[in-house]
């Protein structure tokens, strides 16, 4: 598949010398990232599927419609939104708050470029992950978002990704939250084609001292192969809250890598998935405790129906320097069918001796005793199951701070649960 990438053409189209350098070194490292593939994608045959469906890893840049014709697809309910079409930021269809910087990398001043080169492609996982390196090579013009120091943005910013292409699409963004600032994003992905599509997204997020980020994302795309890698670097006293919701698609692979580089960092990772048919949902997360006194807290829950598969892999690293670390991890699954499957694996590497770490994973079925209890009060079997499953999800949704987003996600879960076939 690597040979389908025309590096010469890509480099000739790229004007920025630093980006050219980044791309060619990613290309050189691609073969070695394939060495990791076997282990990291043990249960997720993403590459094989993509080889079968797509002639090339490279994107097709022509659009099916004129840009302004996509306007109707913007949700009315959002105040601030960034509209991304096939991985490209569309300024004319977006509405950003005045006090933050949102720009394509190519449009930045030389000085600004210098500033962002500290983050851009500096801590992503493209050295170890084949699809992240494919993103580094193939993405066209990174989107830069920066919140200046001492600013707390009350309103959430929606990032709407629309996929309207039968070729692979790549989206790349850098988010920089400066000291003492606070921001919240909700990202969603929409597949407007009726065909199989492939969307590949890589994000790098820098949280400076004492900053806070809420990041909500929902993946609800029929017939899409979705690769999403989020890479976070946190400075002291910063907080990140990630909420990842995944529903029936073809294959969804999420990498969430968080580096807690300094003291007193706080990272929360919550995930919920409900899938049916023959979907595959794979969450790979890693938290790297690099310094003292930080807390990471992770809880993923999922419901797997019909012939679907779930994969969870949670890595926690606690370096020798990272004394007084608290790291918690848990993954719970309910299988609704004999054909449903889950592979779940906690992976802890602890080098410090004064730490509190816990992990646990469960794979089970619906509680028959609880089901009988509900039914014995006159509630139909179908509704009793829905009640139990939405109760199962509530432990994750109750962590959502934003009431509007919480209600939206709860409704999406209800719709999904009602559509399950339980077998």
């Amino acid at each position: 598949m690597i040979d389908t990438i025309n590096l010469k053409k890509i480099l000739s189209e790229e004007k920025d010398s630093k980006v050219r350098e980044m791309k060619s070194s990613a290309y050189e490292g691609m073969a070695s990232s394939l060495l990791n593939y076997k282990e990291e994608y043990k249960y997720t045959p993403l590459l094989r599927k993509i080889e079968k469906k797509f002639n090339s890893l490279s994107p097709e840049k022509s659009l099916n419609k004129k840009i302004k014709d996509y306007k109707g697809l913007i949700p009315q309910s959002e105040k601030f939104y960034l509209f991304i079409l096939n991985g490209n930021y569309q300024e004319s269809l977006s509405n950003k708050p005045d006090n933050i910087l949102v720009s394509k990398y190519s449009k930045l001043s030389i000085k600004q470029k210098e500033e962002f080169s500290k983050s851009y492609s500096k801590y992503d996982d493209s050295k170890s992950d084949f699809f992240s390196s494919a993103n580094t090579i193939n993405h066209d013009d990174c989107l830069i978002i920066r919140i200046e120091r001492n600013k707390a943005l009350k309103e959430n910013i929606a990032i709407i990704n629309l996929i309207d292409s039968s070729q692979p699409t790549y989206f790349r963004k850098c988010i920089i939250v400066e000291k003492n600032s606070e921001i919240s994003f909700s990202e969603e992905f929409i597949n407007s084609t009726n065909n199989i599509s492939f969307s590949n997204t890589v994000s790098e997020i820098f949280l400076d001292e004492n900053s806070k980020l809420n990041y909500y994302s929902v993946q609800n795309m029929n017939k899409n192969y979705h690769f999403n890698s989020i890479n976070v670097l946190q400075k002291s006293n910063s907080t990140s809250n990630f909420h990842t919701y995944s529903f029936t698609g073809e294959i969804i692979r999420n990498n969430l890598n968080i580096k807690l580089e300094d003291k007193n960092c706080y990272a929360n990772m919550y995930g919920f998935y409900a899938v049916k048919k023959n979907s595959l949902i794979d969450n790979h997360t890693s938290v790297d405790h690099m310094d003292e006194n930080s807390i990471s807290n992770e809880h993923y829950k999922g419901i797997i129906d019909e012939g679907s598969n779930g994969v969870f892999n949670g890595k926690i690293f606690v370096r020798q320097k990272a004394q007084k670390t608290n790291a918690f991890q848990s993954n719970n699954n309910i299988l609704l069918s004999d054909n449903a499957k889950v592979n779940t694996k906690p992976q802890l590497e602890i080098w410090a001796d004064d730490v509190k770490c816990s992990h646990g994973c469960t794979v089970g079925q619906l509680d028959e005793e609880a089901l009988f209890y509900l039914m014995s009060r006159g509630i139909s079997k179908k509704d009793s199951i829905s009640l139990l499953l939405s109760a199962f999800s509530s432990e994750i949704t109750e962590k959502i701070e934003d009431e509007k987003i919480k209600e939206k996600y709860e409704n999406m879960i209800l719709t999904e649960l009602e559509g399950l076939n339980h077998g």
Binding site: E369, S376, D383, F392
Partner: protein
């Protein structure tokens, strides 16, 4: 109202009920007593429709309908209520939400309109008084972290909300102190009327001081071996179950 004829039931090929017959009319209270393992809780579960049990012979008629083909939800809608010996804890579902769904699904099955929020709250307030249960408890997840007494009160609260025709109380006295026992019994007595019936399943005579039965049946080895009035319970208390076993 309830007529059980020659009922045989087993679980995992172990025979538990071996030809049990029982007739309960509206307005009556029946007590089923018996030693451990005699099949008392099985009888309660089989009437409520628990799927773990196989009914291998006999029939259960309720208001003229044969129950064996009906699921537990359909039986509840017909008017059967089981107060559990061990009420289940269900994290994430509040009792209030649970009861609202149950009340309205039962209403719907009878062609009635669902209760709106105001009417439902009014009904709830009224029934809460009956068993002295607080709103705060009902807003919490079903039975989660409840004491033994609170769980049993919640059972009787649910019974009051659903207004069943036949209530089966499975070892409702187990795990209750004397004050809680009084509250629960008062609740049950307040719900009694000429139209409904109650079956009390219990080990001990103690509960029957508070919920006074019209009939007492002794269940041993899957069959009712002796029936009588409330004095039978007193006699049992005095002489123990061996007294009947020996006589048989």
């Amino acid at each position: 109202m309830l007529e059980i004829k020659n009922l045989h039931a087993s679980i995992d090929d172990t025979k538990i009920l071996k030809g049990l017959s029982l007739k309960v009319n509206a307005g009556e209270v029946h007590a089923i007593m018996g030693p451990n393992g005699s099949g008392k809780s099985t009888l309660a579960s089989v009437i409520a429709g628990r799927e773990d049990y196989d009914v291998t012979d006999g029939e259960i008629n309720f208001l003229g309908d044969e129950l064996s083909e009906l699921g537990p939800d359909e039986r509840a809608r017909e008017g059967i209520f089981l107060a559990f010996q061990y009420p289940v804890e269900i994290p994430g579902v509040s009792t209030t939400n649970f009861m609202k769904t149950a009340v309205n699904q039962i209403r719907e099955s009878k062609g009635k309109k669902p209760l709106d929020a105001v009417a439902f709250l009014k009904l709830m307030k009224e029934k809460m008084k009956l068993v002295n249960i607080k709103q705060e408890l009902l807003s919490r997840s079903i039975n989660e972290g409840f004491s033994g007494g609170e769980k049993k009160r919640n059972e009787i609260f649910q019974m009051a909300m659903l207004d069943p025709k036949l209530s089966i109380l499975d070892e409702t006295d187990s795990g209750l102190d004397i004050d809680a026992l009084k509250i629960v019994s008062n609740g049950v007595n307040a719900l009694r009327n000429k139209e409904n019936a109650t079956v009390v399943v219990t080990h001990y005579q103690r509960l029957l001081d508070y919920i006074v039965p019209d009939y007492v049946h002794v269940l041993i080895d899957g069959k009712i071996v002796k029936s009588g009035d409330k004095n039978l319970a007193l006699e049992l208390e005095e002489k123990g179950y061996d007294w009947i076993k020996v006589k048989n």
